[in-house]
Symmetry: C2
Subunit: 582 residues, 2 copies
């Protein structure tokens, strides 16, 4: 080793020891007769001291000549510091250097390697290897490592077997777009990269593996939105001989284990909410339950008073912003502007201020009497000092819009603390969702999800009403995982493909192997997959997943550090039997 | 859960318990009035009993109607068996069934689900999900799981951080062929799948991550040979601020940990051997050191006696097959045929039988006197009863041929027991190797390997003689891992690219980011990668890696179960801007 200790290791008890350290120059302070260097490695920072008169002038000169981010190796003696630094664990000591060797010089970095850097996003991505030197980024990746470790510890203890499934698989048109890999040996044929190991994990259940997991890279060739990556990581799991209840309990256990062992947080029991309630009470299938502010519907109460917006509305629904009655006109206008933004798309916002003195002021008091508004207020269980917001229109749209306002208000009122965590199971998802684009039903989860047995009879008459044995785990308003009990018999799977508009031939071509497998003794099974990047960023209290991925792509799917995607040689194209269309 | 216990769990102490089990029908024995079913799951086998008179006739009938590989769920009472089976842990009990439900029927499997199956390779691959039900295959994958677990445990303890590196990277022409992934967004541009995370792990060292590991999929588009897979898994590691000695010690530690914790074997200290010695003494850079049988060179002793084969040979070299003097003419002829096979390519084989009575018989006794042969025998330290084989010709070729004979003899003599393990570090590999194809030197390991400082001066004058700080771990004659100390400064890396025939521009285009990174304070670093599939198969005592991979491809790179690679839709091709050349 080029060191006897790391830069995070020395303490007062080490005083008088001769040590060798290696690391980076974080900072240099030159007071003329004394010079200090803060030396950094992954483990911490140690202060080095070079004092005139006590060391050879040539050594002082050498120290003076090192620059930021130089890699140096030093030998010296640990001594007690005169002026201690209680902010770092090594702050009681410094090393009196007797020998200094520059292991590698450094050009001036294009941005400062500090917790808060002056580097913009693009520069940081181009020099990601320098960005990764910064504490917050390194700590994010260390958190990820710990999350992976603890996930494995928990699942290993529960007798899950980690099995690697293939990366070079088969393209299927269902779902998002696949990345494909041309075969050189079989011209005109392609592998595809997996969007998930779904069919393989089901086959492992057919094989009797019983409990499978994998922390695995998946791929989606989507038009990238902010914070989406073409390659991402899942904690992918499947169990056999279980019911939905078993899955929920097992993976609630996983999440609680992670909170306990990574964040030292005792997560309370995970609430459960069915999809319909989530939509009705929060306008979202991933409600943020760190705060209450549930929706209250008052549609019938608003009718017959000639207020056209409410009169014609399928739904009039609102939230109570507790203690906000004294919001100024300006503040309310801002909220109205917020809901009118195209991203939210509402036409307007009705408010009722229930003032501390019991008086009521509302934007609709031309249409409704104080007594009428009082009835509404009671519906909201509002108290003096509260502020009610109402929105109206087509039910689903209005709920979605109000959900945005609820989240915005929650943020404003400080209810969305990133260090507080509220987890929730959303269950009983619809099996199918209607697509206006294709004018047909699509699987809401995926085509392998099993309908609730009691709802199967609705498949022909009212497909949108069929519920699935499907569930999502939501933490702080983010879907961190989802799964379902699977279909495990050929007849049901065939029926499902029919309902999804697959011809018999298409179903056979794409999933014939799975349907055939179901004929050889497939056990009841189900599973779940967690978005690992997102889960890590949530645990890290961050908005973006990017710093929880060592080498992420930018929003155009490009790695600007290595400059890829990029052209390949004509010879490669020729070997693959491909021509690029001009 | 659809069960209270697994099929491997019940013991005599559980007698009289009411239990629910679920699993597969392994076997049914129908004696008319009594019927037994062996019920199987991942954990074991439990015997079920259905006895006429003690249960409803309809239940007996139901039991009679289940077939092999049906998935059933039963409720019943644990009872002591009359005739015990001490071969399985549940052999003292059986379950008297009171309720039977068929969870899924099964067609007759295309091959028997037994330890020894009647299924051929192709059928087993097509129905891999059934093949995976067989104990030996499942146990191989469970071994793999344990290997991965123990690898992580060891490396976590040593403060390695697991970091995921990207799968969508950049194509580089050096080394084997890349699989490429066309970009839909950037027409005419491609990602490549990594042959290894080499440059990324080096960048992590530049970032100060200090100790990195990953169990990671890698990809090579090679013309497949037997037992090569287009996707394979590596244990990939890198360390900073270390010397070669530190790497050898750390990863000897890993291998010893694996043997101890997976196989309960205390591996002796791993021998070290330099490349030149390995080639001279074993004719191989991956000698099987489970047995000795070292090469002995006698070239000068053979000269001047008019035996043209030896007279004109650069090298005359042999091995001593201890105790084989009594080999018959036929046996020796077989060995001669073996070395003459095109795969070995020798012209012939000379033998000297040193018989138990002290007499000598040799195929060259026309040319050499008994006294002369006696001198050779002494060189070999042979004893009466031994049999010496000699080969001659150009040195490197002859050594390679003799190495094949040595391995063949080792096998014949039972020295290559799959449950015995001999590990070895081969060090001081040449930096470069000459390619007759391209008429230039190539990096033997890869272009990032650092030359030994004392040999750098030879780069211009005698490049083939330059040794690298490179090392392989060899177990039982198989290279299971290899690595090197890396170049960490731009000037040396640039010089290396020059020597490998890269133009400055090519080097910059392909590895500019790495060379630039070396200018911002790159620490000394090095690492290693183990072939995980091979390591698992070695631990499992198997010849082939295939059963240590859940869903392998066949020798044509095809997954015959899901039928991939396969055609993609015209729409997909259009979106990618690609045309398939007819």
């Amino acid at each position: 080793m080029l060191r006897t200790h790391t830069c995070g290791e020395l303490r007062l008890a080490d005083a008088n020891k001769n040590v060798t350290l290696a690391g980076w120059v974080q900072r240099l302070r030159d007071k003329g007769s004394v010079l200090w260097i803060d030396m950094r490695d992954r483990y911490g920072i140690t202060q080095l001291i070079f004092e005139e008169g006590k060391i050879a002038p040539v050594l002082l000169e050498a120290a003076r000549n090192v620059g930021r981010e130089y890699v140096i190796q030093i030998e010296g003696t640990v001594v007690e510091r005169l002026s201690k630094n209680d902010k770092i664990p090594t702050g009681e000591v410094e090393v009196r250097v007797m020998k200094l060797e520059v292991l590698n010089a450094s050009k001036l970095p294009p941005f400062t390697i500090e917790d808060d850097t002056d580097g913009g996003d693009e520069l940081r991505m181009k020099y990601r290897y320098l960005d990764l030197r910064r504490n917050p980024v390194r700590q994010s990746l260390q958190l990820r490592h710990k999350m992976a470790q603890q996930t494995r510890t928990f699942l290993d203890d529960q007798h899950f077997i980690e099995v690697e499934t293939p990366v070079l698989i088969k393209s299927t048109p269902e779902g998002a777009r696949d990345f494909v890999v041309p075969s050189r040996v079989h011209h005109g044929e392609f592998y595809a990269l997996p969007q998930s190991p779904q069919t393989f994990k089901q086959l492992l259940m057919v094989s009797g593996f019983d409990r499978y997991y994998q922390i695995v890279k998946c791929f989606r060739d989507e038009d990238l939105r902010a914070d989406r990556q073409p390659e991402f990581t899942q904690i992918d799991c499947e169990m056999a001989f279980i019911t939905q209840e078993d899955i929920l309990n097992t993976f609630e256990g996983l999440i609680r284990h992670l909170f306990k062992n990574v964040k030292s947080i005792d997560l309370p029991t995970v609430q459960r909410m069915n999809y319909d309630d989530a939509m009705q009470q929060y306008g979202s299938d991933k409600p943020d339950t760190r705060f209450d502010m549930k929706f209250v519907e008052i549609t019938p109460l608003t009718k017959g008073k000639n207020f056209p917006v409410f009169e014609n509305a399928e739904l009039v629904v609102g939230i109570n912003a507790i203690g906000c009655a004294e919001y100024s006109r300006k503040q309310i206008d801002e909220l109205t502007e917020f809901v009118k933004r195209p991203q939210v798309g509402a036409k307007g916002l009705v408010y009722i201020q229930y003032r501390a003195d019991g008086s009521i002021k509302s934007s609709v008091d031309k249409f409704y009497s104080a007594d009428e508004l009082k009835v509404w207020i009671e519906k909201f269980s509002a108290n003096p000092g509260d502020l009610i917001f109402l929105m109206a229109g087509e039910a689903a749209t209005t709920r979605k819009q109000l959900s945005e306002l609820r989240l915005f208000m929650g943020e404003k009122l400080g209810f969305r603390d990133k260090q507080k965590f509220a987890a929730l199971w959303v269950v009983d998802f619809p099996l199918l969702e209607w697509s206006e684009d294709t004018k047909r039903y699509h699987a809401m989860h995926h085509p392998f999800t099993s309908p609730k047995p009691e709802d199967i009879k609705l498949l022909d008459t009212d497909p949108g009403k069929v519920r699935a044995n499907a569930y999502d785990m939501v933490i702080n308003g983010t879907e961190v995982g989802g799964g379902s009990i699977r279909i495990h018999d050929r007849a049901t799977q065939q029926m499902m493909f029919n309902h999804l508009g697959f011809t018999q031939e298409e179903a056979k071509k794409q999933f014939g192997f799975l349907m055939e497998a179901f004929e050889f003794g497939a056990p009841p099974h189900g599973g779940i997959a967690f978005g690992f990047d997102r889960l890590c960023s949530l645990f890290g209290g961050a908005e973006s997943i990017r710093d929880f991925i060592a080498f992420p792509k930018n929003n155009a799917g490009r790695d600007v550090m290595i400059d890829t995607p990029s052209a390949i040689s004509d010879e490669q194209l020729k070997e693959l039997g491909l021509i690029i269309k001009k």
